[in-house]
Structure formats: structure tokens, C-alpha cells
Symmetry: C2
Subunit: 395 residues, 2 copies
């Protein structure tokens, strides 16, 4: 196995910040040749640090080549078309309409290269009343319902700390690119692909969408409890050194849990024999469990309950997640030695294929790192021409 | 355009609850023929309602055919191999190891059909110390850091109301299937594909992963504020009829905001001229904005600030999201008339391709709805044989 699934797929990547960059990262990890194209002053993420490479950029652009190009300059537009002429895929997540303003919209580029798969990621998509809204992840979390369903019942709506819009949007876009690549095998034609952040988040509201149809009077936010308050136990419980999540999806789980925490009398209590009864006495159940978890470390809770077959997990801190032996073992977190940033742990690929080689994770490119290689070897420009492009601010 | 990207791709779908079902839903929406295979007593989601079809199942299984099959019975295993023999893809999200227990692991099935793409979704993946952990979404949220970074600084870790593990895991798995389909065009061989929920969630912690490397002393949870408290304004603000999210990513946004809320003096205040200054005076800034938002409806805030070019969004309730005119217009929410459940709004596809027809959204199958069609027309069984399978509890 020394092949990769997307070997020889050539991707021009205008992806920036999280959404587009993640989309092309996944293509890159699957074997595509991805060339990240930044404006001469760098993509927006670079403004987050005064010098060096921002950690986000390092983590989202491994294995890619990097060049600079000014799409506002006529010469820049020409060079861009030259790049696209032989490419398979273009990924971009500018605000909807930006590429058309550059004169580089899909209509134009598909004439340059009819086999091109043009992928556009955005907050709200190509059409519809919100299509021209600015859409950072927080805005998408508000509009898509994520905030309304997160947090405690007595508190205001709360954002989730992760960036679901960027990442759900990004991976749906990458999936769309691969669908289009597969279709192109049959048709020989490229096409326009899009995925919006709000669209991509929508299905993940599934439990609450179902609550809506069940006419339940569940509050929109249930803290750490089940989203329709329909299961008990189901919560995060305080342990000696943090919190643990525990839930029971069957009466057997409940009986095992009672045994594991030395409270057999609870398993014998008829009030708690069924999930319906336990839901009625949720507070009592939660108190009994927390009385036990408070006396144990997260690790003790995990090993006792796992041995008993009860679903449980430690609430891990970000630092613990970055060093999680499980993620390390799966090469989902890979420590690289970055030329300017030193040792940094970057994400591996969540997509694993038995017959497609795992990516060799090369450090993200510095701004314009591969300018000479790409403009000379790929577009056939002379060193003098490249130097002139540089001094003219085109690259 | 009457083609679909995955036309003629035949998928056998053991996907259940959210993760596997969503993965195959995306394949189905892209044109694959998906046959959902449930045990004779139905997949676990069905136990959520006493009669009829659970809304979650309806929403995640549109356009699929549905059959029943008991994989614990010898005859069931044989029939399953017959189904897999001519299939392109198998999707399953049983606990890791379950298919091997059935005698239907990848090693066995790849002998039956070497071109088979076998896709396994799970909480923690195929290998590593946590691979045999039970993994519902809450457990994954705990272990992956989502809970630690969600909620108010003074509160315990909080889950996000959406199910990031199930849906990020599911769409990464679908993306892996498409990568393998593309590779198979070259090699003629199938392969084993996997995506775990914890792996798939990891990159979405991006802001916090970067905070870790920035050595910032930001608390793990920042409520609705920026995850590294590095931007102001950035928050959810109370309006007359709910909440609105507002943020400024540039000084221009800030100046426009001050103008829009009739507080030009704030724009002139040197303390607030730069983001660094605004961050220092975050409370003052937030109070000033909220003083204004409290006097307006979410819609008024949205139209005033959007006109001024300031990023903002309404915190929408689930009911509002289900009826969001934008999502309706984009056919991301589609009302269908389900034979038993009546009118219900199901998700459309977040993946849009210009030359692959949008899915015709057919209602999800009832349990075993297509048994006769599949077992007779596809496997060539007689009506008598099908009847016997039914009475023997095989289907």
C-alpha cells in the first residue's frame, strides 16, 4: 500500500481561516496535491500573530504547498487562470460573490477549464435571503439553533466552544468535491459544489428537531441532561479531580451502575426500576451517583464503570485531549517539528482507509514558500519574471 | 441534468441511530441506492416511540429502501453475504467488534466481495486503548474536550445541545467512502474505511488548540465571548424578544456599529479605538451594546446592523430554525407527507452539486417495507421462501 485515494488530484486552495482550509486539508490528507494560494500580505489567519506562524494555520495546512498571488491585479488574475487551467479542484471560502468581483467566478473558470470542480464554502450559501450575510462561526451558531439548545435552562442561550459551522461545513464541502470527482469519472465534466455552514449544522440538531415533533414541553436547554429529559441517569457528575459523564440507556446499565457504586438497594427500589421511574426521580438518582463520584478520581470512575459495562467518560481538558494517549496511538494527534514554531501537535486525518497510505504530515508552508517552485516549474516563468512579479506586488 | 453523482452505487446500510444513518443518508442524497437493513425487531431508534415511526428515524432515512434481517441466525448471515456480494458499499456503526462476532467482519466480507468498500463508524475507532468503550454522543463530548470548552467560566463543563460526534463522525465516514470509491476506479479493489466520533470532533476544537500553544491564560469556558477573550465586541446580547449575536472583527466594524446604535461618541473614544483597547474594556463595551439591543427586536437589530455591515445574527429557537425561510428556500428543510406520521420537515442535503440532481426526498421506509421487493427481485427468493423467513424470524 503506497497509493493514496486522491493521488494525482490537483487542488488549488483559496481556503482560509478554518472552513475552507479544513476542507482542503482533508483532500490533502487523502493524497491530493494541494497548493494554498494566499494574497501577498497573507491570509486573514496570519493577522492573529505579530510574527511567526499562527498555530491555527500550522494545524490546518499541513502537507500543502504555499504560494502568494494578488487576485486584485490583472497579472494575478491571469496567473490564477493559468493555475486553474490544469487543476482538478478549486476550493474557496470567500464571502459569496467575492470571486465574481475578482472576475474569477465559476462561469469564467469553467470556461478556462471545463473539467474543473469548483467548491465554495460559505456561512449561508449561494442563494436565499441570508446569502450575503457575514458569517463567522458565532453568527452561524446563533442562526442555526446551536446556541438556543446549549447551556443551562435558567441561563441565556450559550455558544458551544467548538466551531461546528466551520468544521461541519468544511467536511461536507470536501465530501461534495469527492462526489464530483467520482461523477467526473463518468461524465468527464467538472461542476460547481457548495456547502454552507448553516445547512451543514442543521441535521446535528436532530434530538431537538425530534423533540419539536414529539410536542414535548422540554426546555430548549437542558444543561448536561438528556436533550428531552427522557433518560436517567444522564449527566455530568463531579469527581475528585473534575467531572465525568455517565448515562444509562438500559435497565441493565442501571443495575450494573448500582452494583458498581455499592448501592444495590437502588437497583432494588421499584421507583427506579424503569427509565420512566428514574426520569421522575432524576434529582434523587443524580445525587446518589454524585455522592459516589465525588469520592473518586475520573480515572477510578472510568475504570470501575467501564468494567461494569456502564457508558461513561472523563470530561477532559483541552491539554488532556491534545495529549490523549488514545488519539496519539491512532495518530489523530501528530507531533511535528515546525521550522519556525518548533514542536507542535497537529491533527491527523479522521478519515482512515486501509489501502490508502496515511498522510506524511509535512509542516504547513510559510507564506509564499513554494513560489519559485510553482511559478517556475509549473507555469514555466523565468527567475527574472518571478522576481518582477514579486517587486510588482503580484505575488 | 438528470444524473446524480453516486448513481448506480449500491449501499447496504446497517447504520443506526444518528451516526451511521446520517452517513448513508448523505450517500443516498447524492444518488446511491441505499438499502437500510434492520433486525426484525427494528433498529434501536424505534424503541423511542411506542407506535409509529420516531421523528429521528424519519428525518435520517429518507430516500432509503428498508428491509429486515436477523444477523444472529445462520440463514440471516447467508442472506447478508448474498446482499453484500453485489453491493459497492457497506455502512455500519455497531460497537467495534460486533460484526466480527456475527462472523461478518471485513475479512470475511472482503472475501465474498473484494470490491466492497466496508465503512465502520464508531465512538473511538478500531484500535487504541478506548476502542471498546461504549460511546454515545455525551461520552464523546466529554472525552473530546467539547464539554470542557462549553459554558460559562463559573459553571461546570457543559455539553453542546447538538450531537457533534454523531454528525461530524458520520459525514467524515461518508467522505471516506467517496474517497474509496474514487480510488476503486483506479485499482478495482475495495477497502476498509473508518471514522471515529472522537477523531472527527478533534479538529473542531481549533480555537482552543491554538490557545494552548499561545500560552494564554484564558479560562477553558468563556460563555458567549470569544474563546480566547481576544475580540470585543463578541457576545450574545439580550434583545426585546430574545438574543442576538454580534461581533466585530475589524475597527471598521466597530465604527459602523457605533454609528448604527447612535453612539458615535464611543467610536471617538480613544480607549476603544483598537481591538486591544476594546478587549480591555469588554464589560463597558458589552453594556453599551446591550443597552441598545434591549430596546429592539432581534429583527430590528439584524436589519440595522446588517445594513451597516456589522456581523450579527438572531439566536433562533429550534422552531424558528425548522421554519427558517432561508433554509426553506435552499430546500435544506423539506416538508414531506409521511404515510404514518403526516407532515414532517426533514433535512435536505447540505452538499449541493450543480450537475447532480437534488434528491427526490421519499419518506423513510417502515420496518421491512421493501422485504418482498428486495428478497424476491434482488436475491431471487420465492414468495414461499420469503414467508418462511418471516415466520422463522430471519427477516
Amino acid at each position: 500500500m503506497d497509493q493514496q485515494a486522491l493521488e494525482d488530484v490537483d487542488v488549488i486552495d483559496l481556503g482560509q481561516i478554518y472552513n475552507g482550509a479544513y476542507s482542503s486539508l482533508m483532500l490533502s490528507y487523502l493524497g491530493a496535491d494541494v497548493t494554498k494560494v494566499e494574497p501577498p500580505f497573507g491570509e486573514p489567519l496570519r493577522s492573529r500573530v505579530e510574527e511567526g506562524e499562527p498555530a491555527e494555520l500550522v494545524m490546518l495546512n499541513s502537507t500543502k504547498d504555499g504560494i502568494t498571488l494578488n487576485l486584485k491585479e490583472e497579472r494575478g488574475k491571469e496567473l490564477f487562470k493559468d493555475l486553474v487551467r490544469d487543476a482538478d479542484v478549486l476550493v474557496e471560502n470567500f464571502a459569496t460573490g467575492t470571486m465574481e468581483e475578482f472576475g474569477l467566478g465559476y462561469d469564467t473558470l469553467s470556461e478556462v477549464n471545463p473539467e474543473l470542480i469548483y467548491a465554495h464554502g460559505s456561512g449561508f450559501g449561494e442563494d436565499g435571503p441570508k446569502s450575503d450575510r457575514l458569517a463567522m462561526d458565532l453568527i452561524v451558531q446563533a442562526e442555526s439553533g446551536v446556541m438556543d439548545v446549549t447551556g443551562n435552562p435558567e441561563d441565556p442561550p450559550t455558544k458551544t466552544g467548538i466551531a461546528p459551522g466551520d468544521f461541519l461545513g468544511g467536511i461536507h464541502l470536501a465530501a461534495g468535491v469527492m462526489a464530483a470527482l467520482y461523477q467526473r469519472e463518468r461524465t468527464g465534466e467538472g461542476q460547481f459544489v457548495e456547502a454552507s455552514m448553516q445547512d451543514a449544522v442543521y441535521p446535528s440538531l436532530m434530538s431537538q428537531l425530534a423533540n419539536y415533533y414529539d410536542d414535548s414541553d422540554t426546555p430548549p436547554r437542558t444543561g448536561n441532561r438528556h436533550s428531552s429529559l427522557a433518560k436517567a441517569p444522564y449527566n455530568a457528575y463531579e469527581a475528585e479531580d473534575g467531572y465525568v459523564a455517565i448515562l444509562c440507556t438500559s435497565d441493565e446499565h442501571w443495575e450494573s451502575l448500582c452494583g458498581a457504586i455499592d448501592r444495590e438497594e437502588l437497583a432494588d427500589d421499584e421507583r427506579f426500576a424503569s427509565n420512566v421511574g428514574r426520569v421522575e426521580h432524576m434529582e434523587t438518582i443524580d445525587d446518589a451517583i454524585e455522592e459516589w463520584t465525588r469520592e473518586h478520581s475520573r480515572e477510578e470512575v472510568g475504570s470501575v464503570l467501564s468494567a461494569a459495562g456502564v457508558p461513561c467518560g472523563s470530561v477532559q481538558s483541552v491539554e488532556e485531549v491534545i495529549h490523549d494517549p488514545h488519539l496519539e496511538r491512532r495518530e489523530m494527534v501528530v507531533e511535528i517539528d515546525h521550522p519556525t514554531e518548533g514542536e507542535i501537535r497537529v491533527p491527523g486525518s479522521p478519515i482512515r482507509l486501509s489501502d490508502s497510505k496515511a498522510p506524511d504530515i509535512e509542516p504547513s508552508p510559510t507564506k509564499g514558500e513554494d513560489n519559485v517552485e510553482v511559478y517556475r516549474d509549473r507555469l514555466g516563468l523565468s527567475d527574472d519574471e518571478i522576481e518582477r512579479l514579486r517587486s510588482d506586488g503580484v505575488i
